[in-house]
C-alpha cells in the first residue's frame, strides 16, 4: 500500500560539500517558506507530543467512561470521545508520541543498517559487493508485509519488535543510495590522498567517504520517517501494529475507519493529524533536497 520513497536515481550526487556548501544549503532552506513552516510545525508537534503526559488539563488517554462512549466533538472534548469514552484529543496527542517515536526509531534502525551495509558494499566492491547487493535484491523481492507478519508472529508484538520490524524492511533503499554514492566517491582525489597518507580502510570509509554522502542520506531520511509512520498505520489496519492500551495514529485511524458512517470524527481527527505530519515531513524533505542539491534548486535559472 505504501507509496514508494524517492528512487535512488532521483537523489543527485552531491560533490564533496565544502563548509560553504552547507551554509549555502542552510541559507537556501531558510528561504523556502513552506519547508521552514513544516520544520516549525514538526518541532512544535514533537515537543507537545513528548510532553503530553505532563500537560496540564489534558485528559488521561486511557481513562474510560463507558456510559459516555462515542460522543461528538464538544467544548468538553474538542475531538469528541471514542467508544470507550476516552478523550480523543488526548488520544491523538499521545498517539502522536507513539507514531513519531515509531517513525524516528524505525528510521534510525534503517539508517544504521542501510548506511553501514551500503558503504561497505560500495567500498569493498567485487564479490563482496555482489553478494551484499544480492541479499538486498532478495529482500526487495520478498513482499515486505509477509516479512513483517512473520517477524511479528515469531516475536511477541512488543513496541520494540515493531521498531525493529519496520526498520528492517526500510533499510534497502538507503543501502542502495549509499552504495551508489560511495562507488562514485571512492576514486576521487581526496580519498586517494587519505590512502596515500596511510589511513586504514575503515577510517577512509567512515571518516572521509560516508560524511560526504550525508546530503542524499539526510534527504532520504526525512522521507523515510513518514514512510515508516505510514507502514505502521498500515500494519495497524491489519491489526498488527501498536498494541493497546498504547495507540498510534495508525490504530486510531484504522479503528475510526471502521465506524465512519456513524462516528466520522474518530477517523477525521487522527487522520488529519497524521496527514498533516506526513505532509510536513514531505515538505521538509523536498526543501532539504532543493537545498542540498544545487542543480535542482528552485532559483537556478
Amino acid at each position: 500500500m505504501s507509496i514508494g520513497i524517492a528512487p535512488p536515481g532521483s537523489v543527485v550526487a552531491a560533490p564533496r560539500p565544502a563548509r560553504s556548501l552547507w551554509s549555502d544549503a542552510w541559507r537556501r532552506l531558510r528561504r523556502n517558506r513552506m519547508a521552514v513552516a513544516a520544520g516549525w510545525f514538526l518541532g512544535a508537534l514533537a515537543l507537545t507530543a513528548a510532553l503530553a503526559p505532563w500537560l496540564p488539563g489534558l485528559a488521561d488517554p486511557t481513562t474510560q467512561d463507558l456510559a459516555k462512549g462515542a460522543t461528538a466533538p464538544s467544548l468538553q472534548h474538542a475531538f469528541g470521545t471514542d467508544e470507550l469514552g476516552r478523550d480523543l484529543f488526548s488520544r491523538v496527542l499521545h498517539g502522536g508520541r507513539i507514531s513519531l517515536l515509531v517513525g524516528l526509531v524505525g528510521t534510525l534502525v534503517s539508517l544504521i543498517i542501510g548506511v553501514t551495509w551500503g558503504a561497505i558494499a560500495g567500498y569493498v566492491g567485487g564479490k563482496v559487493d555482489d553478494l551484499m547487493m544480492r541479499v538486498v535484491d532478495v529482500l526487495y523481492a520478498l513482499p515486505y508485509i509477509f516479512l513483517v507478519i512473520l517477524l511479528l508472529v515469531f516475536f511477541s508484538k512488543s513496541l520494540v519488535m515493531l521498531f525493529v520490524a519496520l526498520g528492517l524492511v526500510q533499510w534497502l533503499t538507503m543501502a542502495r543510495i549509499v552504495r551508489g554514492q560511495v562507488l562514485s566517491l571512492k576514486h576521487q582525489t581526496f580519498v586517494e590522498a587519505a590512502r596515500a597518507l596511510g589511513a586504514s580502510d575503515a577510517a577512509i570509509l567512515f571518516r572521509h567517504i560516508v560524511p560526504n554522502t550525508l546530503g542524499p542520506v539526510i534527504v532520504y531520511t526525512t522521507l523515510t520517517v513518514p514512510a515508516v509512520i505510514l507502514q505502521e498505520a498500515f500494519l495497524s489496519f491489519l491489526g498488527l501494529g501498536v498494541q493497546p492500551p498504547n495507540a498510534s495514529w495508525g490504530t486510531l485511524v484504522s479503528d475510526g475507519a471502521r465506524a465512519i458512517a456513524l462516528f466520522p470524527w474518530l477517523v477525521v481527527f487522527p487522520g488529519l493529524a497524521m496527514s498533516l505530519t506526513l505532509l510536513a515531513f514531505n515538505f521538509l524533505g523536498d526543501g532539504l533536497r532543493d537545498a542540498l542539491d544545487p542543480k535542482g534548486r528552485r532559483d537556478s535559472h
Partner: protein, 305 residues
C-alpha cells in the same frame, strides 16, 4: 540485447531459490500449523490431514518436494481451500488484481505525468503550486483513510456509486480512485523533478535556440528523458500496486491477490503462502527487467550490461 535478457532471466533462478528457501524456513518456524481451529480437530482426523499433505514426513523431504513442485509452478492444493490448486487461486486472484492495478496505474500515468509536466513548465507559478499541493496531499493521505471517506460521501450519502464489490463497471470507480491517488501524486512529483532537470540541459537549450515553441521542446525532446524516473518507478510500483493493494481489496471487497499474502501467512496455509511469495518475487523481477529494457529504449546513453 537477447543475451542481456537471457542473463537476467538466469540470474533470477538463484534469487528465486533463495527466496523460496527463506520463505519455506520462515513459515515452518512460525508457531501453529494449518489445521488449527477454535474447536479442536479430532486427533485421528488431524493425523489423516497431516498425512494427506505429506506434513508428517521429515522436513528436508518436504523441502525437496516443495522445490521440485515450485519449479513447475505447481504448489499443490491450498490447505485452507483443499479442492483448489494454489495455482488456480493465484491466477484467478491475479486476473482481478491486474485489472484493478492496471486501471489505477493508467489513471496514475494519465493524470500524474501531465500534472508534473505542467508544473515543471510553470515552475513556481500557481499551476505548479496547485499541482504540487495535490501531489503532497495525495502522498500524505493514506488510502485506508481515503477509501472509507470516498465510500461515506459517494456511496452512503450521495448513493452515486456502489460501496464495494467487483461486479459492474461502476463498482470499479471508487477502488481505482482510492488506489491511484497516491500514485498520481507521486508520479506527478517524479515527472516534475525529472523535467526540471532535463529542461536545463544543453540539447534543450539548443532546441529552444532553434526557435521551437516551448510545447514543441517539451513534447519533442524533453519529455522522453524527463519521464525516465517515472519509468524506473513504474516497475516496482506496478508490482506493488498489483500484489499489494491489500487495504483496497479489504475495504472494497475486491477478490484480488493481495489478501492471500496476509490470510495465507496468518492461517499457516503453507502452500498458499509459498505460492504467493514466489509469484510476487518473480513478477517483480520480470517487471524490473522490462523497466530496464524500456529505460534503454528511452535513453540512448544507457547501455545494457
Amino acid at each position: 540485447m537477447f543475451r542481456f535478457v537471457l542473463r537476467r532471466l538466469l540470474l533470477m533462478i538463484p534469487t528465486l531459490w533463495v527466496i523460496a528457501t527463506l520463505t519455506f524456513v520462515l513459515v515452518r518456524l512460525a508457531p501453529g500449523g494449518p489445521f488449527m481451529s477454535e474447536k479442536e480437530i479430532p486427533k485421528a482426523a488431524k493425523a489423516e490431514l497431516l498425512h494427506r499433505y505429506g506434513l508428517d514426513r521429515p522436513l528436508h523431504e518436504q523441502y525437496v518436494t516443495f522445490l521440485g513442485n515450485a519449479a513447475r509452478f505447481d504448489f499443490g492444493p491450498s490447505y485452507k481451500y483443499p479442492d483448489r490448486e494454489v495455482r488456480e487461486i493465484l491466477l484467478q486472484g491475479f486476473a482481478v488484481s491486474a485489472e484493478l492495478g492496471g486501471w489505477a496505474l493508467l489513471v496514475a500515468v494519465l493524470f500524474g505525468v501531465p500534472m508534473g509536466v505542467i508544473a515543471a513548465m510553470r515552475q513556481n507559478r500557481a499551476a505548479d503550486f496547485a499541482a504540487m499541493t495535490f501531489a503532497l496531499a495525495g502522498v500524505s493521505v493514506p488510502n485506508f483513510v481515503l477509501g472509507p471517506l470516498l465510500v461515506l460521501v459517494f456511496s452512503l450519502t450521495l448513493l452515486w456509486l456502489p460501496a464495494a464489490l467487483w461486479t459492474s463497471p461502476a463498482s470499479r470507480v471508487l477502488p481505482v480512485i482510492a488506489l491511484s491517488v497516491g500514485y498520481v501524486a507521486y508520479i506527478a512529483r517524479l515527472t516534475r523533478a525529472g523535467m526540471l532537470e532535463v529542461l536545463q540541459q544543453d540539447f534543450v537549450r539548443t532546441a529552444r535556440a532553434k526557435g521551437l515553441t516551448e510545447r514543441g521542446v517539451v513534447v519533442g525532446h524533453a519529455l522522453q528523458l524527463g519521464i525516465l524516473p517515472v519509468v524506473s518507478y513504474l516497475g516496482p510500483a506496478a508490482a506493488r500496486i498489483v500484489m499489494g493493494s491489500i487495504v483496497i481489496e479489504q475495504i472494497f471487497a475486491v477478490p484480488g491477490l493481495g489478501r492471500y499474502l496476509v490470510v495465507g501467512a496468518l492461517n499457516r496455509d503453507y502452500t498458499l503462502v509459498l505460492g504467493v511469495v514466489l509469484f510476487y518475487a518473480a513478477f517483480l523481477m520480470l517487471l524490473n527487467l522490462i523497466v530496464d529494457l524500456a529505460y534503454q529504449r528511452l535513453d540512448p546513453r544507457v547501455e545494457l550490461s
